[in-house]
């Protein structure tokens, strides 16, 4: 039975392990979404990001999103890991592995998981700039979910 797995971690994410763990003999492919810190945002040079999470709820919500992806697209295991703490440019902040018997569903499920994660998972980031300042990155209001879950 395909299963969802979700974790919030302060440790670097092991991509090969995440992909490997997602696979079962029923699968013919596995996709990895690898989200990394980039060196600029809206024209300002970024030196690092500091991620904060409501860890327990973030794990629950990512797990639920993974289960939704399995039910909706008929894929195999979905594994989602989000980093917290200080991350430098080039480090992975989020990784999503989707295993699947067929590739088309895997692409759809991977896209679904990252989009829903950005809308619903309680994670925040503070952007540190090369000039030494830092600011909370404006986010997405999860208000749509507060009065009824999206379908």
């Amino acid at each position: 039975m395909p299963a969802a797995y979700a974790a919030v971690t302060a440790e670097p994410i092991d991509a090969a392990r995440l992909l490997g763990d997602s696979l079962s003999p029923d699968d013919g492919a596995a996709l990895l979404f690898w989200g990394v810190v980039r060196n600029q945002n809206e024209g300002r040079a970024v030196s690092h990001l500091e991620y904060h999470a409501y860890a327990e709820m973030a794990e629950r919500t990512m797990h639920r999103i993974g289960e939704e992806a399995i039910a909706r697209f008929g894929v195999g295991d979905v594994r989602v890991v989000h980093r917290v703490g200080r991350l430098d440019v080039g480090e992975a902040s989020v990784a999503i592995a989707v295993a699947s018997p067929h590739r088309a569903e895997a692409y759809e499920a991977s896209r679904y998981v990252i989009e829903e994660l950005k809308r619903r998972v309680p994670v925040w980031k503070r952007e540190g700039y090369v000039d030494g300042e830092s600011e909370w990155v404006p986010g997405f209001s999860a208000a749509a979910e507060s009065d009824g879950r999206p379908t």
Partner: protein, 81 residues
């Protein structure tokens, strides 16, 4: 009854604390808790009038009735990924 209020990111900056225990009359709702927190002297007066909240880790409307020991998290706009 006593409920735990949790604060994150910008809201944590307003509260100058990760969490605050609040004593509320029985039958109080999330809306009542928001009014109570915003009325305080400190930075929590800067909380929006209608912040997104999660009760016991599920997003919940402000009409939600609270119970003893509930965990009410104030969720600023999320920016994961």
């Amino acid at each position: 009854m006593n409920v735990r209020s949790l604060f994150f990111a910008q809201y944590r900056d307003f509260a100058s604390a990760d969490e605050i225990d609040v004593e509320l009359p029985d039958g109080a709702s999330v809306a009542d808790l928001v009014v109570r927190l915003r009325r305080g002297e400190g930075g929590l007066s800067r909380l929006p009038a209608s912040p997104v909240v999660a009760v016991n880790m599920d997003y919940a409307p402000h009409s939600t009735a609270l119970r003893e020991g509930d965990e009410v998290a104030f969720i600023p706009p999320v920016a994961g990924g």
